[in-house]
Symmetry: C2
DNA sequence: CTGTTCTTTTGATCTGCATCAAGGATGCCA
DNA sequence: TGGCATCCTTGATGCAGATCAAAAGAACAG
């Protein structure tokens, strides 16, 4: 069915758009050289599955461009997204042979892959890689825990607002701007994918987006292009406290 | 209000009950020696708060005995537990100054603490510590993601069954037995804490526990002592698939 | 043993979101 | 240009779990 085409995309680490954010961020020139020797690029089309949960996984890698999702599925088909992978995010786990989750490209995507075995060996001699990976994993753990609050305790409206504020913030950080005032961005997810992320149905997602639009929290152009006139207002709707203390 | 009593509990690393599971698990004798120099013990009583989210945190550490919870709270009081800390689990994050979550001891608890600064310095020269911490953090990330599925997609009954099966499994692993057949253990949490973990109300928790008891999935003695006559049955109720493939 | 507090159970009712159902918009391919 | 698929919106209805309320154990101090 799916044509798992693998296409080489030669590139120099020096020009790499994720050079200073990915797992290689802290590497010196010589370390980068070693990584360069075991790396290869893979391209995926929107909708293509990178790997299925339970499949043997003999590589790890970084998202270079595009977006992928990490999802878990129960036997009866209920699915929950457990991660949204953006450029520089790491895929796979050193020391594990099988993929723990389904990984699906939701847009055209390019990954910088390393064969797992050589990567693991390299990690032993290259503390900068292990250090960076630890830092990234701790960040992901924080993100997962923040998401647990969203899933466990927020209302549908708050969930949507939380997702929008996260996407807006991430978009701002790519553009190296602060998330304030008016913001414009595109939704990288379908309503169904949003529902899977938020633990809702796609109908509820659609209704709540309409409600936020009706209430002036967001403006919509087409289905995907979003304008947030007031980011603080969005944060309020998300139930997050941005005025949080810190009066030291 | 809370009497944050700090009591010394001198102990030798060689005798430590979490020696081979904690962040120090991979350390050689000399590395252990270095850790030993910067460690100190703190005891907490049941109900005592270890640290509040946002507070300055100048230590990291491991739970030696007892149980603690990691929780997040919204301004209006809604709370979500984001982690259950058992013996050998790590508390705190190297490279971060403030606690991200409330940490509360739910039973009498002893922690082995390291001052953060010296610990961070030690990590640089002691790859075994960083390696083990990475491994533990990856495990926690997996656990958090499994919990996202529970919070986002499972019914109240499945949530309760999931929590019980996790506690049962953990209990089995402490006793070095396989989780099968009949199992007996104590709930380390109040109904309210269970509710905070599962994103439910305590009334719903109580009702579902009664229902599981009525249906013979569990037996109760007092409020806390649980017997699971058939672990596979419990797994089914949790919606987990334990017969999952693996026919290689 | 009695009053107090904390935890838990159980009942009655309400409601937010799921479910079921239909139709609109957009884009692609023949 | 029309057929088809994909994605999205909106309406009607139902139900799982929240909320409100009361009371029953259990632990403990006096």
């Amino acid at each position: 069915m799916l044509d798992e085409e693998t296409k080489a995309v030669p590139r120099d680490c020096g020009d790499c758009p994720i050079r200073h954010r990915a797992v290689c961020a802290r590497c010196e020139a010589d370390e980068l050289e070693s990584l360069d020797q075991i790396k290869y690029y893979r391209s995926f089309e929107a909708g293509q599955t990178v790997i299925w949960a339970g499949d043997k996984m003999d590589f790890v890698g970084s998202v270079v461009s595009g977006i992928a999702t990490l999802t878990q599925t129960m036997e009866d088909g209920r699915t929950q997204m457990v991660g949204l992978l953006l450029p520089s995010d790491f895929v796979g786990r050193p020391g594990r042979d099988e993929a723990a989750y389904d990984v699906v490209a939701t847009s055209d995507m390019v990954m910088c892959c390393f064969r797992k075995k050589p990567f693991e060996e390299l990690m032993v001699h290259t503390p900068h890689i292990a250090q960076r990976l630890l830092e990234m994993t701790l960040d992901e753990l924080d993100a997962a825990r923040e998401w647990m609050l969203v899933l466990g305790r927020k209302t549908a409206r708050e969930k949507i607002a939380s997702l929008l504020s996260i996407i807006a913030r991430r978009d701002a950080s790519l553009k190296l701007t602060k998330p304030t005032g008016s913001m414009v961005f595109d939704l990288p997810l379908t309503r169904e994918a949003m529902a899977d992320y938020l633990g809702l149905t796609l109908e509820t997602v659609s209704r709540q987006i309409s409600a936020l639009k009706r209430d002036g929290v967001i403006q919509l152009e087409g289905k995907r292009h979003i304008t947030v006139p007031d980011f603080d207002r969005l944060m309020e709707e998300a139930g997050d406290d941005n005025d949080g203390g810190m009066l030291a």
